[in-house]
Subunit: 433 residues, 2 copies
C-alpha cells in the first residue's frame, strides 16, 4: 500500500459516527513499518480490496475498519512467541483501538466473531502476534440483544436469597453415579444448606444417566428438600448437547423439575446460547470449557474478558469462570475483569451472576468474598462439599458455617469450635486429619 492507501484506514473518533462502529482493542506485535501493518490489519478485517479494477470508487469511508487510537509500547528484540511470517524489520509492541463498522456483519454473534477474531485479524501481513483485549458496543448495537432473562436479581428472587453469595455445589463423583445415587447426594447437600446442586460440566445426557431420568429423580429430590428445609432450592441440569437437541432438552429437563440449566457455552457456540436464552423458562448458566485454549497466553489469542462479555450478551444469567488463586492459573486482575464484565453497566442488559470457581471449600470462601468485593457472586465447591469426610450434608453445612463466620466477623478457626462440619475442614487444612 502507498501512503494514500494507508491514510484511508486511519481516522479520529470525532470524524466518525461512533454509533455505527464497534471499538476493538488489540495488543499487536508489528513487524516492519507500523502504519503499513495497521492499514493491512484494518483492510484484512474489512474491505481487503476497496475498489473494483477500473472503477472510480472507494468503499473505505463506509466499510473500512479504521485505527482510531495507537500507542506504541516499545520495540522488542523479537516476537514474544516464535511465529513463521513473511515480513522483516523492527518489531514493535502496540496497543490499538479499531473502529469496525458493524454494518459489515450485523447483530449476529457468529458473524461478529468472524470479524473480530477471524482470518483478517490473525493473518495480517506484518502482525504475527495479536490478542483481542476488549470489544466496545454502542447502545444502538446492544439493543438487538435481549441479554440475561433472569440475571442476578431473578436468581435471587427464585431462591429468596439476598445479601449473601449463592451457594452452588458440583455433585461428585461427577461421572459414574446412577441418577438415584446422584439424587440422594444432591438431596443431602440441599439439606446441609446448598442453594444449587449442579451437574458437572462433563455430565450431560448419557445412556447410563439420561437427562430424562436424572432430571426426574433430581426434580423429586429437590421438592423434598424444599419441603424439609422450607427454602427454595435449584437443581441445575447440564443440557449441553448437539444444538438441534437443545430446545427439546430444555423442555424435558424443565418439565421434570430442573429449575435452572447449564450449558458449556463455547462448545455449543455463543449463537446456540442466544437461541436457548430466548426459549428458556429458567435461568441459564454457562460453564467455561475451551476458553483457556485461546485466552491463557498473555499476548496472544483472545482475552477471557471478551468471552465473558459475549456470554452475557448471548443471555447467560450466570457465568462460571476460572476463579482466584494459582490453582486456576489465571491472574487475579483477569478474574476481577471477568467478574466486572458480569456486574458493570452494559446497555440495557441485566447483570449476570459471576461464579469464579476452582477447588473451593469452606476454607476459601472468605478469600473469594474479599476479592470479589461484594455478595454478588456464586460459590461453587465440588469435592469441598461432596468429598467432605462427614458426607455431603456436612460439606454443605461447613460452607454455610463459613459464611456465618464472615457475616459475624469471627475468625474461621474460632467459629469452628463446637461446629463439627467446619472443624473437620479446619483440622484438615492444619494437617490434623
Amino acid at each position: 500500500m502507498n501512503s494514500e492507501d494507508i491514510r484511508g484506514f486511519f481516522a479520529s473518533k470525532e470524524q466518525l459516527d461512533m454509533a455505527d462502529y464497534l471499538t476493538l482493542d488489540y495488543y499487536l506485535e508489528c513487524v516492519g513499518d507500523i502504519e503499513t501493518a495497521l492499514a493491512h490489519f484494518c483492510s484484512e478485517q474489512s474491505t481487503a480490496q476497496w475498489k473494483r479494477v477500473d472503477q472510480d470508487e472507494d468503499f473505505r469511508p463506509r466499510y473500512a475498519a479504521k485505527v482510531i487510537s495507537l500507542t506504541v509500547e516499545g520495540e522488542l528484540a523479537a516476537l514474544s512467541y516464535p511465529v513463521q511470517h513473511f515480513e522483516s524489520g523492527p518489531v514493535h509492541a502496540c496497543r490499538v483501538t479499531i473502529a469496525h463498522p458493524h454494518c459489515n456483519f450485523g447483530t449476529k454473534l457468529p458473524n461478529l466473531l468472524s470479524a473480530v477474531c477471524g482470518e483478517g485479524v490473525f493473518f495480517t501481513p506484518g502482525i504475527p502476534v495479536v490478542k483481542l483485549l476488549d470489544i466496545g458496543f454502542p447502545d444502538s448495537y446492544l439493543k438487538a440483544f435481549d441479554g440475561p432473562k433472569f440475571g442476578i436479581d431473578g436468581i435471587r428472587d427464585l431462591l429468596q436469597a439476598y445479601n449473601r453469595p449463592i451457594f452452588f455445589g458440583v455433585v461428585k463423583p461427577n461421572i459414574g453415579l446412577t441418577p438415584a445415587q446422584f439424587a440422594e447426594i444432591a438431596y443431602q447437600s440441599w439439606l446441609g444448606g446448598l442453594d444449587i446442586a449442579k451437574d458437572d460440566e462433563m455430565l450431560a445426557d448419557v445412556d447410563w444417566s439420561t437427562l430424562i431420568e436424572r432430571s426426574r429423580v433430581l426434580g423429586e429430590a429437590r421438592v423434598r428438600a424444599e419441603r424439609e428445609t422450607g427454602e427454595p432450592k435449584i437443581y441445575l441440569a447440564n443440557i449441553t448437547d448437539e444444538v438441534d437437541r437443545l430446545l427439546e432438552q430444555h423442555d424435558i429437563a424443565v418439565s421434570n423439575g430442573a429449575n435452572a440449566l447449564l450449558v458449556n457455552a463455547f462448545p455449543i457456540g455463543l449463537s446456540a446460547v442466544r437461541m436457548l436464552a430466548r426459549h428458556t423458562k429458567v435461568p441459564l448458566i454457562g460453564h467455561f470449557p475451551f476458553i483457556a485454549a485461546f485466552s491463557r497466553m498473555e499476548k496472544y489469542g483472545v482475552h477471557s474478558r471478551v468471552m465473558t462479555k459475549l456470554q452475557r450478551l448471548a443471555g447467560l444469567d450466570s457465568i462460571i469462570m476460572p476463579g482466584f488463586g494459582s490453582r486456576m492459573m489465571t491472574p487475579e486482575e483477569e478474574v476481577k475483569a471477568n467478574i466486572a464484565e458480569c456486574l458493570q453497566d452494559f446497555g440495557h442488559l441485566k447483570r449476570s451472576l459471576p461464579v469464579p470457581g476452582g477447588s473451593d471449600s469452606a476454607l476459601t470462601l472468605e478469600t473469594v468474598y474479599r476479592k470479589v468485593g461484594s455478595v454478588d457472586f456464586g460459590f461453587v465447591p465440588g469435592r469441598g462439599v461432596f468429598g467432605h469426610p462427614m458426607g455431603p450434608k456436612a460439606g454443605a453445612t461447613s460452607i454455610r458455617q463459613a459464611w456465618e463466620a464472615i457475616e459475624q466477623g469471627i475468625e474461621l478457626e474460632r467459629y469452628a469450635v463446637g461446629r463439627a462440619e467446619l472443624q473437620v475442614m479446619v483440622d484438615g487444612a492444619n494437617g490434623k486429619k
Copy 2:
C-alpha cells in the same frame, strides 16, 4: 494422590477394549512429579472424585481416562510460556496418549469438545502448558456420524471436473458491492474459467446485500454463465448466521440458485455444522475464522489438525484452511497435516476437498500443486482473480492458463508468451507492471 490412587489412571492398551475409548495425543509440560501430574490430568478430565465418601466403590475402571503411552522428551529450564501455577519442581516436556472412555459423553460434538479441550485438560494441577495434538476415533464411534454428504467426488460430479484442482475465487471487493455489481463480477470470473465464485467469509446476510437478493441475482448469473460456457458452475453463498436461522438460510439460498454453501465453522459451532450437513441439499464448505486463536502457538492450545478432523466429522464437503508460504504463518508440515486429514481414510466418511488458501494467484498455483502432491485440492485466489489488472474474467483465465502450463509441463514464463492474461501476472511479479 497416593501411589495407589495414581495407578488407577495408568493402563496398557492391551488391558482395555479400545473400541470404548478415544485416544487423545497431548503435548504437556509437567511441573513436579510426572506420574502425579498425569494422574491428575486423567482424573480432572474424567472422574475427578471416583468414589463417594464411605462407600466401597471405584469408578475408575469404567469411567477414568487413562495414560496408555508416555514419552518424556526432556527437562526444561522453565515452562515454554509463563503461566501462573501452584506447583513447584522440575519441568518436563512430555508426549502422552490418553485413552478416554467415550461413554462419558457420547457421540455429541459439544460434549466431545468439553472432554478433550475442557476445564479438566486446561486446569490440571501441575500441567500449566498443554496442547491437544490429535484425536483417534474407533470405528464404532465414527458410525454415529454421517460425515460429508458429497465429498470430493460429489463436488467433482457436480462440476464435471476431474483430474485437476477445483478453481475457486473469492469475489472482491468482498465488502461493499451491491448484489448486482457482485453478480456481474462473478459472472465474468465464471466466463474466464472459475468453477466456483464465492462470497467472502466476511460477507453474509446484511441489509446492503441480503442473502435473498444476492443469491437470486447470483443464481441467475450462474445459469447464464453455464449456458455461455457449456460448463457447470457453482455460486458458493455464505450463510453464516445465528444457528436458529441456518436451515432457513440454506433453503432461501438453495432455492434461489446457490448450489453450494459456505459457513464459518467455528463461529457457528461444529454442532451447527453437523445439523446443517444433515439438512443440506448442496455441498457444504467451511471457512476457518477463529481457529488460529488457539492453534498458532507451537506448544499450547489445540492443533489445527484436530479442527480439520472434527470439521470433516461434522460433515463439511470441503474445508478452506490457511495455506502454504509464510504469508499464512503456518508451518508447511501443519498445512500438509490438515490436507491429509481431509484425504486420508477415516472410517466410512467421505473425503473432504482441502482448500489451502491465502493470497494466491496464477503465480502460486504450481507451488501449491507440488506441495499438495495431487489434484485433489481447491485453489482459492481473491485479489489474484478480482484484482487482476485486466479484470476478473482475465484473472480467472490467468489461473486456467497457469494450470495448462503445469499440465503440459511448460515453464510459466514461457507459456505466458502470447497469453496476455498470464503475461500481465508474470510481468507484475517481475516488476514490469
